[in-house]
């Protein structure tokens, strides 16, 4: 689904002494079936923006469109319900949303809320649990008896089971070890590739993730759009990123250093995977 934001602004606690402008003058257009990453310093408004995309917050100014739906200041809660069926949201520490007696029942909560029959819900829930790598012998366990990483997977399955077209992920791997991180990022990417109706919007602090998975990167600063483009375009601008308090992926850093020290102008520094980086180094060494 195509997503646009037109002149969007959001202010927390409007008309109180705690008033806080978190987003202003925000304009964006995302094509159907794209993997978008949003990066930006802490407090730059990333979480605020993504919550506007499924109506958990309504813009104080401007409007957001998701496919044929519009979200603006006075959108009714009833319409937002339909939007939420299309736009799934995985929050930071999603395991905090688990509540039901068993893993399977918890995953079925979403699809049943969105009108699926028990049987359908069970079917899709099992499918999603398999996708995230939860074995059937855990289905009848209490979600509170799982390990942290398992809980995270169950919570993600709970959102995938809604069968959204757009999946929003707000730092989905915060607090996981590198392996757990890698596992979940791969599962999510696999889900994205599963159909060309699906889109992902990933909020992350890890430049490596943004460069490896995303096709489009949005850089935010102080509630505004600071930069936008493909990973190659964005990460070529090291100086501008650093001014915003952001870094570049390690692979790019390495190749940049190599280019600088060796003086070899032919080195292409914008490589995001380990494989590509090694190839570049090998070709520099003349050993390809």
């Amino acid at each position: 689904m195509q997503i646009t934001a037109t002149d969007v602004a959001y202010t927390y606690m409007k008309d109180t002494p705690f008033e806080k402008k978190a987003l202003h003058n925000f304009n964006i257009r995302l094509k159907n079936h794209t993997y978008t990453a949003i990066i930006g310093q802490t407090g730059s408004g990333k979480s605020t923006f993504v919550q506007l995309l499924n109506g958990l917050l309504k813009p104080t100014e401007g409007e957001v469109t998701i496919g044929d739906w519009k979200i603006y200041k006075d959108t009714k809660e009833k319409e937002l319900y339909f939007i939420r069926k299309r736009v799934g949201m995985v929050f930071q520490f999603p395991e905090h949303q688990l509540f039901d007696e068993t893993v399977l029942k918890d995953v079925m909560y979403g699809p049943i809320n969105f009108g699926k029959s028990k049987k359908e819900a069970e079917e899709i829930s099992k499918e999603m649990l398999t996708l995230v790598g939860i074995e059937p012998d855990l289905y009848e366990r209490s979600p509170f008896e799982l390990s942290g990483g398992q809980m995270r997977r169950v919570a993600i399955a709970g959102v995938l089971a809604i069968e959204p077209s757009v999946l929003i992920l707000d730092e989905p791997t915060a607090g996981l070890d590198p392996q757990g991180h890698e596992g979940i990022m791969n599962i999510l990417f696999q889900w994205y590739k599963g159909s060309d109706e699906r889109s992902i919007i990933l909020v992350t602090h890890q430049m490596e993730d943004a460069s490896r998975y995303a096709e489009h990167i949005i850089v935010m600063d102080k509630g505004e759009l600071a930069m936008e483009g493909t990973p190659e375009e964005v990460f070529a601008q090291q100086k501008e990123l650093e001014a915003l308090g952001l870094g570049i992926p390690e692979t790019v850093k390495l190749l940049k250093l190599l280019k600088e020290k060796s003086g070899d102008k032919k080195i292409n520094t914008v490589k995001f995977t380990l494989g590509d980086t090694v190839e570049e180094i090998l070709s520099f060494l003349g050993k390809d």
Binding site: D15, P17, R84, M89, P94, H96, Q97, G110, N113, V159
Partner: protein, 269 residues
Amino acid sequence: MLDHVIIGQYVPGKSFVHRMDPRAKLICLMLFVVFLFISRHPFVLIGGLILTTTAFYYAKIPLRFYIKGMRFIVIIILFTFILHLFLTREGPAIFSTPIFTIYLGGVTQGGFMATRLLVLFIMASLLTLTTTPVALTDGLETLMKPLKKLGVPTHELAFMMSIALRFIPTLLDETAKIIKAQRARGANFTQGSLWNRLKAVIPIFIPLFVQSFKRAEDLATAMEARGYEGGEGRTKFRLLTWLKKDTYAVIVFALYALIVLIVKIGGGN
């Protein structure tokens, strides 16, 4: 939804009331509450109104914000007024229909009770609006000190209160987050039958409880790890300072108390 509740909230500021010693504020509030309710003489209420207006003025709380947060309280007060209006049968009838009659006594009684409640609430809310929870518990603990001789665990009581106060914003935050997460999964708290709405609350309360227990455990471990052993021999990092203006404020409220007493003894009601 939870954004506009002002009960128990602190609004940072540098006003006269903000800078008062929490002990002075507590004493003033206690005097005010006790003596406002001692007598039904109109003078007492008028005096209370004047004190409240003055205190509110000196607290410099933004009026628009305050009024927004008062909505719930105003509904309760209106309800009190209406109850009195219909249930009191005193004085001449001023309005009558075949179903009910309103008497003059109802209007004055209702108005009296409503104003009393309003004044009481404003005064109490000023205390929490202008005092940090930490200062509030420090103040309470010092004021309760005499009770320690009677074996009341004053430090523990104050400490419990400060922990509770400390976690109210955290809990509200967490509730808001969980509500959002479940709404994203299609939860609907505003539609359907009463039973369905009640059921919709379960997915919020269970995670909230689970989190709270976890947090309590973590807190206990962290306190133990840092050698917490209760109140005996503990010194304070923040010291309360009593200034002249605190004395003046207490004197003003004490004078009010005195006047109320005189009216009460002299006037008989």
